[in-house]
Symmetry: C2
């Protein structure tokens, strides 16, 4: 029987998406065999993330500062706001370096199946940011999935009373595609050809 | 662009067996979204393993004590020694609770393909333990793979000069099967029906 410490680590790893109990045990074995090369760096990386990172109260990005570097950057266009489902989508767009404005992370998308309702997402804070003024365009950069598009339509309805142009990423995204999986070229094209929400 | 802290964590996770760059990024996102429920416990579990566990200098087991609880347990039969490839195999056998003796972890198996030679495994310490005396039976509990069986034959040759009975797990293990994947019933049967190495 492995020690309680090993069981606890196996269980913590098994709860990560993509790892089951079997691969978690293999990962633990690997960490125990490579303490200097694998366990040490993973521990240090987790500690750094846990101690240094916080969630930006303005946009939901994760960064070492709050407000985050993007929100605090005076060179970013304050009039353009890009709404994304997840922090990973923000990172994907930042890698393309094509969006000059700021972001708003919803923290998910509406899903009847998973019981995710508007109040479970950062929608009130989005509305408040737009209501506060100074924003000309809101880009709804949801995933090209049914749930992503449902979320985009819901948001378009919620903000249509404000004097802002509401756009979404151009079609050209592969159907069912998720932003975080796209190459930068596709993403760049979709962003350049963004169009008003009909 | 994600912060350097996030990149470092993603890379450390991506190096685990069973996780690639894509699933590592998903895991990081999950950890960032569930800081209390996932990141905290994983960090604590890694710290506990890193700080409390050491490798038993006698048998190669990983435990909070050195010598490990199995080596230090006076109720374990000192005359029976079970040789396994990996710590996970020791755990698998301990879960079956059927082996009353002690263990010796080789740290792998001979492999021409991967260039793993006898001097890369804990074979000299095994020979020394047998040479020191007091052991009546050595169970070679290698995996039922070609490399495992090659290793068992090599070990049988190395220890045939000592007055010990050398046995191996009974056939009945599925061909190509690895100990760590077997149900306890199969493992128990194979252990009970162990036979002398021919
Ligand atoms: Zn921010
Ligand atoms: Zn030991």
């Amino acid at each position: 029987m492995a020690s309680p410490e090993i069981e606890a680590l196996t269980q913590a790893l098994a709860r990560l998406p993509g790892l089951g109990p079997r691969s978690a045990r293999r990962a633990v074995l690997h960490l125990l065999k490579k303490r200097e090369a694998a366990l040490g760096p993973l521990r240090a990386a987790l500690e750094a993330v846990d101690e240094r990172l916080e969630t930006c109260a303005t946009c939901g990005n994760v960064d070492t500062a709050n407000p985050c570097a993007i929100c605090a950057d005076p060179r970013r266009d304050p009039r353009a706001l890009c709404v994304v489902e997840e922090v990973a989508d923000l990172w994907a767009l930042e890698r393309s370096r094509l969006f000059p404005g700021r972001f708003h992370v919803l923290g998910g998308r509406l899903s009847a199946l998973e019981g995710i309702r508007p109040e479970d997402l950062a929608i009130e804070t989005l509305v408040a940011r737009i209501e506060a003024g100074g924003i000309d365009e809101v880009v709804l950069a949801m995933n090209a999935t049914l749930e992503g598009q449902t979320t985009a339509h819901y948001l378009a309805d919620r903000i249509e009373r404000f004097p802002v142009r509401v756009t979404q990423l151009a079609h050209g995204l592969p159907v069912g595609g998720e932003l975080d999986y796209l190459d930068e070229g596709t993403l760049a094209q979709a962003l350049r050809a963004r169009r008003p929400v009909s």
